[in-house]
Symmetry: C2
Subunit: 180 residues, 2 copies
């Protein structure tokens, strides 16, 4: 499964009110505590990969994200598995991987028009909105592009353009904020 994600930095209130008015379905609020790992073989910051252990409301999962396949959206291969957070961290450490950073956020999730819309409040960074759409791995470039266009059409209703797309990860932004 490929995940197409577009992220913008914008306050939540206006879009959330509007979506609720239109009948968007509230799904859940998640407390996401993310620990990112880097590889001893190649620097994931340079190869644009990510290896993450996430605790969502206490339950663990591991996610690998491959190199982005598109410059504007964040289309990329993504693999997910449930995991025991503590044990999986020990396994990754034993295999030579090491912690590169942590991101903590609360995510309020709404479902609308086949999108999963996350209203993210990220510790130290503020409010972001992430619009996600899933597409099968066999999708051709045209199908992917059509889905990306659909996401940006949606965002344009709220004054956001392709230029507002944030392609940096929260981890990158958290690490940059630390350096300042």
């Amino acid at each position: 499964m490929y995940e197409i994600e577009v992220k913008v930095k914008m306050p939540h209130a206006k879009m959330k009110e509007d979506l609720i008015k239109k009948g968007a379905v509230f799904s859940e609020t998640e407390q996401q505590s993310d620990t990112y790992f880097n590889s001893p073989m190649r620097d994931f910051a340079k190869t644009d990969e990510a290896l993450r252990i996430r605790a969502v409301n206490g339950a663990g999962e591991i996610t690998y994200k491959g190199k982005k396949m598109d410059t504007v959206s964040k289309t990329r291969p993504e693999y997910n598995s449930p995991a025991d957070e503590r044990e999986m961290k020990k396994i990754l450490s034993a295999l030579g991987f090491f912690v590169s950073g942590a991101v903590n956020k609360s995510r309020e999730i709404y479902l609308w028009d086949n999108f999963v819309i996350g209203f993210d409040t990220v510790s130290g960074l503020g409010e972001f909105i992430e619009v996600e759409s899933a597409i099968r791995e066999e999708a051709n470039p045209n199908e992917i592009q059509t889905e990306i266009d659909r996401i940006f059409d949606f965002l344009s209703e709220y004054g956001m353009t392709r230029k507002d797309s944030v392609t940096k990860s929260y981890l990158e932004m958290v690490l940059e904020a630390k350096e300042k």
Copy 2:
């Protein structure tokens, strides 16, 4: 958690009958389908590590086993996490790990005297019995040795001595059988 395991190659019938007579508790029968991965950084066959994805009656788990800490028993650090078998295989492949072999077996599990006793029938290898005992990671060498002795005392009742302990993994034996 450390796992102390002693494995011997012996037919199941006699010990199983005896344990049932003594009141051992039958726990379950598992169909275990194991896929072993090796590392691009070091050869686990040489470093005596193991990285395994196991499907047990359909449910997945990932296990890392570190270098053995004892020459007779198979005492070693071991970390386990539930996992989605298919997704976790994709994650390991994306991280550079590769399949080194597969072991399929059925394991009939009995509980007796704080031991977990597995009656293993391994595809291509035959019948083995594995006696397992768990010990906390903070245990000192004396405590570990006492537990190892207790396992061998138990096995001696069935004519097995320390010399009969099989320290080779099923994977090693499967790979060796293939080479022949």
